[in-house]
């Protein structure tokens, strides 16, 4: 079991452990966990130890060290790495090694982090259970009969299982926050454009965002300091100064902070009683810390999921066109009689069922004669949803609500029922459609001992405010410090 990132840094600074010792501990933990949880698609002990060695050497030589020096980190297998495969957990990209590093990977390397491997995910980040991976399912460390959530299920499970203190996930409709909630860890989806998407294999470009997963808000802040910031290679990257996020986690006094509670969302059908109880409890904690609690509503909430499930597949159908077997990736083995047959066979063999379903939905929604009815209408509704957020944030500083309708569900429960799976995103997709930051943090446990998350959302670029409130909540509670039984 590995300590928090802050503790890992302290151990090294105090000379109580070297980066190599820490990396070895992480690699041992990964080995033990992998057989049970299957959170990784790729690990390379040797290269992890080698990069830890270079950190130790730097320290010994008195050279300046990066902010994450010697901290083991796992990254979702949707981020391009030049020294490891990038597969998106798809047959289509099995063995694919990009010739370049994603910007966040470059930044991690520059910060002297030790990248231990790539984590499992739903194929091309499509799913809410990590069951659509071509590399096998990942199991929830709290209960291995249950899903870790998705699509960053591997990234959340890797942290929950104590193999690494930090991981990077991506969130298109809740893919950081929902697995974080299911795995009892803290996950932050930053503002759209706050973290460069360069080198993130696109699922739905206008919604995708990279973010940190850790045990605590304090560790998330540490990682945000490294990955946030403007980058000219991503045109949608925001050219705004980056605050020191760790400063946000210093105070626990929430007096003067107005928190809007999305009470109506809790009336929705199919919401587990444990979710309602947890939220009520969280409201109490936050109020005790001095926050003012106000009821608010986001009126177009019922259109979130339908809007999302038009826009995301539409963009995905376009983004995934490049996987045609012509230039790289999977190509059908049998000699095809013509080009179109080659494309069809390669795509039929390379993509899994969920990916195909979304490509079909997206292709339909964008096609001539239907675009106005679906895609263009969805764009209009998206503008209304953004308007709801603007209106809400003119009244309150943060929004509080659930992350998921239920705690982690059983493996196999929803994988054959796409609609049920899509409803996992009920509370999370709003932040992606509006582009605002949101955090999921442990808020309690259900009677069976499964972790339950609560969600805070903030106005654009107010990650610090999220981390401030989350850190204060974590100073008053100990849910985030509890670990699954090994």
């Amino acid at each position: 079991m590995l300590d928090s990132a802050l503790e890992v840094l302290r151990l090294q600074a105090a000379g109580e452990a070297s980066a190599v010792e820490i990396a070895e501990r992480a690699m041992d933990a990964i080995e033990a966990s992998q057989a049970v949880h299957n959170a990784y698609t790729h690990v390379d002990r040797e290269s992890a130890i080698a990069s830890a060695k270079s950190v130790d050497a730097k320290r010994a030589a008195g050279q300046p060290l990066g902010a994450l020096a010697g901290v083991p980190i796992a990254v979702k297998d949707v981020l391009c790495t030049s020294d490891m495969p990038t597969t998106c957990s798809s047959e289509m990209l099995r063995g694919f090694r990009p010739p370049y590093d994603a910007t966040v990977i470059e930044k991690l390397r520059a910060a002297d982090a030790v990248i231990v491997g790539k984590t499992n995910m739903d194929e091309f980040a499509m799913g809410a259970s990590t069951e659509t991976s071509a590399f096998g399912i990942t199991k929830n460390p709290w209960d291995t009969t249950r899903t870790p959530g998705g699509s960053s299920g591997g990234a959340a499970a890797a942290v929950a299982a104590g193999t690494v203190p930090l991981s990077l996930g991506t969130d298109t409709g809740g893919s950081i926050r929902q697995p974080a909630a299911f795995c009892g860890v803290t996950g932050l989806k930053p503002t759209y454009g706050r973290v460069s998407r360069y080198g993130l294999v696109a699922f739905a470009s206008s919604l995708d965002q990279i973010g940190p997963i850790a045990w605590s808000a304090d560790d998330c802040a540490l990682l945000m300091n490294v990955i946030a910031g403007f980058e000219p290679r991503d045109s949608t990257s925001l050219d705004q100064p980056v605050p020191d996020y760790t400063l946000a986690t210093e105070s626990n006094d929430l007096r003067g902070l107005r928190i809007g509670v999305l009470r109506e969302s809790l009336q929705a059908e199919g919401i587990d009683e444990s979710i309602r109880t947890t939220l009520a409890h969280a409201i109490g904690v936050l109020a005790e810390l001095g926050a003012e609690i106000i009821d608010v509503d986001l009126p177009h909430r019922e259109y979130w999921v339908p809007t999302y499930y038009v826009i995301a597949p539409s963009e995905a159908s376009s983004n995934l066109s490049r996987y045609d077997g012509a230039h790289y990736g999977h190509r059908a083995g049998e000699e095809a009689k013509d080009l179109v047959t080659m494309y069809c066979r390669s795509r039929a063999e390379g993509f899994g069922a969920e990916v195909k379903r979304r490509i079909m939905v997206g292709t339909y929604a964008l096609s001539e004669g239907y675009a106005d009815e679906y895609y263009n209408k969805a764009l209009k509704v998206r503008r209304l949803i953004r308007g709801d957020y603007d209106a809400a944030f003119s009244q309150v500083d943060l929004l509080l609500g659930p992350v998921t309708p239920t705690p982690a569900f059983k493996l196999g429960d929803k994988v054959d029922d796409p609609i049920q799976m899509y409803l996992c995103d009920l509370f999370t997709v709003g932040a992606n459609l509006a582009g605002v930051p949101a955090i999921s943090l442990p808020g309690g446990f259900d009677p069976a001992g499964l972790p339950i998350g609560i969600q805070l959302q903030a106005p654009t670029l107010e990650e610090s405010r999220l981390l401030f409130a989350a850190s204060a909540f974590q100073s008053a509670t100990d849910y985030h410090t509890q670990r699954p039984k090994q």
């Binding site: 994603a102 360069y198 066109s321 179109v340 096609s367």
Partner: protein, 490 residues
């Protein structure tokens, strides 16, 4: 012929490759003719995770082009994805512009080929920016069916200029294309080299047949793959005949058969239908989520408008009146683009002899550029140097031949004119030295002296060659003068 009266309706879609150093969305070079797949990066290859970033220079060139063809430049333009599968399109979509093109609603005036005194106004619907695709090369020799793909061209910026169907004859289409090419090269927007694919034309053509007062439109045919203006004209003429014959035979009209895509076979000189699949494409356009819409401030448009300078016509007229050169010569220089005009202006000023400068540019400069495969902007002989050189020819200080040697030396080795003259050992030969040389030659060639005395002055010519053999700096004109004087005196 018992043919019914028909009107030909022609609209052109012209793709010009913008003259940027780098591609539309990445920093790769746009140089033509490099080894396959050497000018590529994750962005233009469309590798997973790579993202496009707009090249500002392409935007500026597109605005220049648009203003020159009298388009509006709307304050907001955006990018869209156009989806289709093709192996030389690595992303599976092309980043283009759909409903908000960068230039809209312009026109181009051409001289009516049927009446040199009349002007025809051809409407321009729009001009939009898009990235080029790569190139597939199919090797079907010896029963093999290898296909190779060169992606160097992927992401090269193109401006697609779409005309209204305002042209009525192949000659008008030709006049339109010629005029468009002249403007684009003159503005430095594009090289417009059809051979290199930097100018490509698709023609939409159909007929309106007047049958007893009733207008019948034949199906529209879009002709692709024409690699010269001559082929465009030939294809259009061919289509006029073919469509009429087809209509007589089948009765197909635009209502029954809409639009079809044809290719042009420049060996057989026929058009041929392309596969049905390529016609009924649904491109599923939608706004490209990787690129933000572009706001173009009014001030920027006006700034670019102010920098456009004179039109090719104005330049042509000015060159004729200012330097006294012929219309044809002015035309050749102007058709080489603005950089050449600027070069000519500077050289002619420095030489003080427009005619000589014009002929040197058309012969020596253009030939050397062709040999070196370079352009006037990077040419080794500056306009000032050429002017200096030609002023020496004008003053008789250098012969044309020696000036050519100097020109060649500078273009190959660089350095100044004086340096080249020195390096080539060119010195002015003084008169007494020259006289001695001629005396010597006359003594050795009594037959020449006799011939001249018998009235054949041309006989002196053989002395000139001999004299220059002994002293390459000898001026032929001088030799002739001295020889004739000495023979006359003898």
């Amino acid at each position: 012929m018992s043919q019914l009266p028909t009107t030909t309706i022609i609209g052109l879609e012209v793709h010009v490759q913008l003259k940027t150093a780098t591609k539309l969305f990445c920093g790769c070079s746009t140089k033509f003719g490099s080894p396959p797949n050497t000018q590529v990066c994750p962005v233009c290859l469309g590798l997973p995770g790579a993202l496009p970033v707009i090249n500002e220079h392409a935007i500026e060139l597109a605005i220049r082009a648009g203003l020159a063809i009298r388009c509006d430049i709307p304050p907001l333009t955006k990018w869209d994805r156009k989806q289709y599968f093709y192996p030389d399109l690595p992303k599976g979509y092309q980043i283009s512009q759909f409903d908000l093109p960068i230039c809209a609603d312009g026109c181009l005036e051409i001289t009516d080929p049927a009446d040199p005194d009349a002007i025809r106004r051809i409407g321009i619907i729009r001009a939009h920016l898009e990235e080029d695709a790569g190139k597939s090369m199919h090797d079907e020799a010896a029963g093999r069916a290898d296909s190779r793909i060169d992606l160097n061209r992927c992401g090269t910026p193109l401006l697609e200029i779409v005309s209204e169907p305002d042209m009525r004859t192949a000659d008008e289409a030709l006049a339109y294309l010629t005029k468009l090419k002249e403007i684009m090269t003159h503005l430095g927007v594009s090289d417009c080299e059809m051979q290199e694919g930097s100018l490509r034309v698709d023609a939409n053509v159909n007929l309106h047949i007047d049958k007893h007062g009733q207008r019948i439109a034949t199906p529209i045919v879009e002709v692709k793959n024409m690699n010269s203006f001559r082929n465009v004209a030939a294809a259009l003429d061919y289509e006029v005949e073919r469509q009429y014959a087809e209509w007589e035979e089948t009765g197909h009209t635009i209502q029954t058969h809409g639009k079809r895509t044809f290719g042009w076979d420049d060996v057989k000189c026929v058009t041929y239908p392309q596969r049905e699949k390529e016609e009924s494409a649904d491109y599923r356009y939608f706004p490209c989520p990787d690129l933000l819409p572009i706001r173009i401030p009014r001030e920027r448009v006006e700034e670019i408008r102010a920098s456009l300078g004179e039109t090719p016509e104005e330049t042509r007229e000015r060159l004729q009146s200012q330097y006294g050169i012929k219309a044809y010569d002015a035309d050749v220089i102007v058709s080489q683009g603005r950089a050449m005009v600027e070069y000519f202006d500077a050289a002619a000023m420095a030489s003080g002899d427009g005619k000589r400068t014009s002929s040197w540019i058309q012969q020596d400069v253009m030939r050397t550029l062709k040999e070196q495969g370079s352009d006037i902007e990077s040419f080794g002989v500056s306009a000032e140097q050429l002017g200096q050189l030609l002023s020496k020819v004008k003053s008789g200080e250098l012969t044309n031949d020696r000036a050519r040697d100097v020109f060649k030396h500078v273009s190959e080795n660089g350095g100044g004119i004086e340096d080249a003259i020195k390096a080539l050992g060119i010195e002015a030969v003084d008169d007494s030295e020259m006289e001695a040389l001629v005396k010597e030659l006359l003594a050795a060639n009594p037959k020449v002296v006799d011939d001249v005395k018998n009235g054949n002055q041309k006989a002196v010519g053989s002395l000139i060659g001999q004299a220059r053999g002994k002293n390459p700096n000898a001026n032929p004109q001088k030799i002739r003068e001295i020889a004739l004087r000495l023979i006359d005196q003898a």
